[in-house]
């Protein structure tokens, strides 16, 4: 079938099987290398994307469900102005995930900050509870996100 949707701000027109998982469509046909399908069951979070404004796991979505959707991945987020807040937050808390996990953690952080620029620990931990990570512990990750939120708030108020 023919699908069209917005990917990282660009219109995309692609032909695929409707039964293809969205993560595979994005990774294999559209060169979204940041996604790492690992569990195909919505458990690990390595295929996290922002889908119509919400954080979702693209392994749970069949390609046909992406018709007319708006999708943001790591590749799009790193080009946005807000990425600097996330980078800074991670660096200051020394919570940089490994290359394998980095993309999904950035996407998750971005989605948290889009919903709430002052998230508390509980809210963050709850989102991170849907991820599996062997490189860094969740406490550290949470601190990184809280710090990123701090920088995002400051940016919003025009402060550096």
């Amino acid at each position: 079938m023919r699908l069209h949707f917005i990917l990282n701000g660009r219109y995309v027109d692609v032909t695929t099987q409707p039964s293809t998982r969205l993560v595979d469509l994005l990774h294999d046909q559209l060169d979204i290398e940041s996604l790492h399908p690992a569990c195909y069951g919505g458990e690990c979070g390595n295929c996290a994307i922002i889908f119509n404004g919400d954080l979702v796991y693209s392994c749970l979505i069949p390609a046909f469900a992406a018709q007319d959707a708006s999708i943001y991945t790591y590749e799009g987020i790193v080009k946005s102005a807000g990425y600097a807040d996330i980078q800074r937050g991670f660096q200051e808390e020394n919570s940089f995930p490994c290359r394998y996990c980095l993309a999904s953690k950035v996407v998750i952080t971005q989605s948290i900050l889009e919903n709430n620029q002052d998230p508390d620990r509980q809210e963050i931990m709850e989102v991170l509870s849907g991820t599996y990570c062997s490189c860094t512990n969740l406490n550290k990750m949470t601190k990184g996100i809280i710090k990123a939120a701090y920088h995002r708030r400051r940016s919003s108020y025009g402060r550096k």
Partner: protein, 688 residues
């Protein structure tokens, strides 16, 4: 993202062949015949008959076929390869192959197993084998078991191969690129000089990147050889999880003889590891397990036997840690039980043993850190008070079923893990590191495996800068491939942090000595030396077995929910001595990650996923959220010594402390990992 070190799934090109493996559907038998007449024309088929060279890959002395020719030894074993320019057609094509098997439906089981399934055995014997003691002694017998463990979330595993200037180029996420080169050369019957291996990003990994990249590379390379075109084989996450490394399950029987004071007079320990159909690094696993089974305890008469049992399960045992976590679990749970017969609490009992400053192989540890590590965690966790209080509650409790009081327990475990192999293999294995100092006083370090963690690179740079009197900015760990980098051996068992670090030091020391005598650039290569017999005897298992040791002590406190029988971890306190550490924050992070993974294994959590907790309160049932147990990690002596691995020691000690804590909470001796609520229920029912 660093585009210089991509994952293997990034590689593709127009006109390339996608390759998939056709796997055995039965666990044991023979292939009688196969029919590929219904395969579409565009799909190519390869069997063992198409291999120009050897149909086997070897890891030191152990081998595994690339494609099963006749005998099938586990379900999922690779039989054939399919290749097509369209990946979509391959899944359908697999269904069109008909394979006829012959089988008598027998399996090589682990329980029970026959003696001819024992493929290797290691014994460590000290003192007398006589066990005839007089009255006043007690015999404590126990059996411990661990299940296998696997992980999702590993870096993609595959290979991308193509011809370039009459040489075969292989991109694969190998932790040992030279093994890939040699394996591909052997299978294709070409010279190794005709093969160039470029490492793609292998991390995260759990041991599978040591051997399996060689397997898939040889398969993809076969297709490239036969077609002249690029080929790519990517294992699916399911294939990686099911058919590559797992923690080998173990059954441990321990029989201890103690006197009326609780002093251990003798012990017999028998371990059986299920190593699956094609064991790898077996001897290394058995020796490490034997050493961990003795740990640091002073037992004058001990007989440890460790066996590897071949079964019809998919290959195991190349998993991270190689058997140490499983054997340390049994050792530490058992020692806590033995401590009950002395007049001391388990913490002090372990301190007493550690104060003798020896490990089971007889090696004296002059600066034994364990007493201090134990004292630290016992104090930080308030172990003594809690242990007494929980003991009292346990003894007063009539039955857990009618208990209204909180069920809590606290446990301690301690020990060491080793960095580096217990033996550098003989033969054509000159594993080493190279270094070059140029005329501008810039040092380049060449290591055969890329993906050295940042913290370890930092250690190398600082050491080099210190020895040569240059700045760390002048030290570079360079990128490369098998054309330009030396063979440094497999990246596992703490090699980068301990063994390679000492090689870097030796290279720099040589350069420093030659610097003003020889013209620059000065290039040097240093190989991992074989252990001197007076330091380590691998036959009798005497001496210092490893390059360095990482030490640890861990306390875990738990609460058992009497309604649902679900364990909750209230806290973990850990102290480690892993030698020199520059980046404490990173080290703590690694340790914490290891601790959480170990807790997940201990509790049977699916693939290490986190847990939810909820308080029982009608007024304000706490909103569901993730509540990770608080973990406190400290490092001792981090400004000195040889740097050692952290993850393995953290992972290896937690399970025993968790199980002993649970045993106190429930008033039942638990003896297996994982411990699930259902299992707890079974133990409690048995008790009543």
């Amino acid at each position: 993202m660093d585009d210089n070190f991509p994952f293997v799934d990034k590689y593709k090109t127009d006109g390339m062949f996608h390759v998939q493996i056709v796997r055995a559907e039965i666990p044991r038998g023979r292939i009688e015949s196969w029919d590929t007449s219904k395969l579409p024309e565009e799909v190519l088929f390869f069997s063992a008959e198409d291999l120009p060279g050897k149909n086997e890959l070897s890891l030191l002395s152990e081998t595994m076929p690339l494609l099963a020719a006749k005998e099938v030894n586990y379900q999922g074993e690779p039989l054939f390869l399919l290749a097509s320019k369209s990946s979509e057609s391959l899944e359908e094509a697999k269904k069109k192959i008909r394979i006829d098997y012959e089988t008598d439906f027998s399996l090589l089981a682990f329980e029970p197993s026959s003696s001819d399934q024992v493929i290797d055995r290691v014994s460590l014997v000290r003192g007398s084998e006589e066990r005839n003691y007089g009255s006043g002694t007690q015999i404590i017998e126990a059996q411990y078991r661990t299940s296998s463990e696997t992980h999702i979330g590993r870096a993609p595993l595959g290979a991308f191969t193509y011809w370039e200037n009459e040489r075969l180029v292989v991109h694969t996420p190998s932790h040992w690129p030279y093994h890939v080169r040699g394996s591909v050369a052997d299978v294709l019957k070409i010279s190794p000089s005709k093969v160039k291996v470029i490492q793609s990003n292998p991390s995260p990994a759990y041991g599978e990147k040591v051997f399996y990249p060689s397997l898939v590379s040889a398969m993809a390379a076969l297709v490239t050889l036969k077609t002249g075109s690029p080929a790519r084989l990517l294992l699916s996450p399911e294939e990686v999880e099911r058919f590559t490394t797992k923690k080998a399950p173990v059954e441990v029987n321990r029989t201890s003889v103690i006197d009326e004071n609780g002093t251990i007079l003798a012990e017999d320990v028998h371990l059986r590891f299920n190593v699956g159909a094609y064991p790898m690094f077996t001897r290394e696993l058995l020796i490490r397990a034997a050493i961990s089974s003795g740990n640091f305890y002073h037992i004058p008469n001990i007989n440890i036997t460790v066996e590897a049992i071949r079964t019809s399960a998919p290959p195991m045992n190349l998993y991270r840690g190689l058997g140490v976590a499983q054997s340390l679990f049994a050792t530490e749970v058992h020692s806590s039980r033995l401590a009950e017969f002395s007049q001391l609490n388990p913490g002090d009992w372990k301190i007493e043993h550690a104060s003798k400053r020896r490990i089971i192989t007889g090696s004296e540890i002059k600066k034994m850190p364990l007493p201090e590590l134990l004292k630290q965690v016992l104090e930080k966790s308030d172990f003594y008070r809690k242990h007494s209080a929980y003991e009292l509650t346990r003894k007063r409790r009539s039955s857990i079923k009618t208990s209204r009081s909180t069920l809590r327990g606290i446990g301690v475990s301690s020990g060491f893990t080793g960095n580096g192999f217990t033996e550098k293999p003989t033969g054509d294995f000159n594993w080493g590191i190279s270094a070059v100092l140029d005329s501008k006083d810039r040092l380049s370090i060449e290591c055969g495996t890329l993906n050295i963690p940042r913290a370890i690179q930092d250690i190398w740079k600082r050491k080099a800068a210190e020895i040569l009197g240059i700045s760390t900015d002048s030290v570079e760990i360079i990128d490369g491939d098998t054309d330009s980098l030396p063979d440094s051996g497999p990246m596992m068992l703490g090699m980068p942090v301990s063994v390679y670090t000492s090689l870097v030091e030796r290279c720099c020391t040589y350069i420093r000595k030659q610097r003003f005598h020889k013209p620059l650039p000065i290039r040097v290569h240093r190989n991992i030396p074989a252990a001197r017999k007076n330091v380590w005897n691998r036959e009798s298992l005497e001496g210092l077995p490893y390059q360095s040791l990482s030490w640890g002590a861990v306390v875990t406190e738990v609460e058992l929910d009497p309604l649902t029988l679900m364990p909750e971890v209230r806290g973990v306190w850990a102290s480690f001595d892993c030698g020199l550490i520059y980046d404490t924050s990173y080290a703590v992070s690694i340790a914490e990650a290891g601790i959480y993974e170990a807790l997940a294994w201990s509790m049977g959590e699916e693939r290490g996923s986190p847990r939810y907790y909820q308080d029982y309160s009608l007024e304000n049932p706490e909103t569901l959220y993730l509540r990770l147990p608080p973990v406190s990690v400290h490092f001792l002596n981090q400004s000195r010594g040889v740097p050692g691995g952290i993850n393995e020691i953290a992972e290896s000690l937690v399970p025993a402390s968790f199980i002993t804590a649970m045993s106190q909470a429930a008033g039942v001796y638990f003896d297996r990992i994982p411990l699930t609520p259902e299992l707890i229920h079974g133990y409690l029912e048995e008790q009543t």
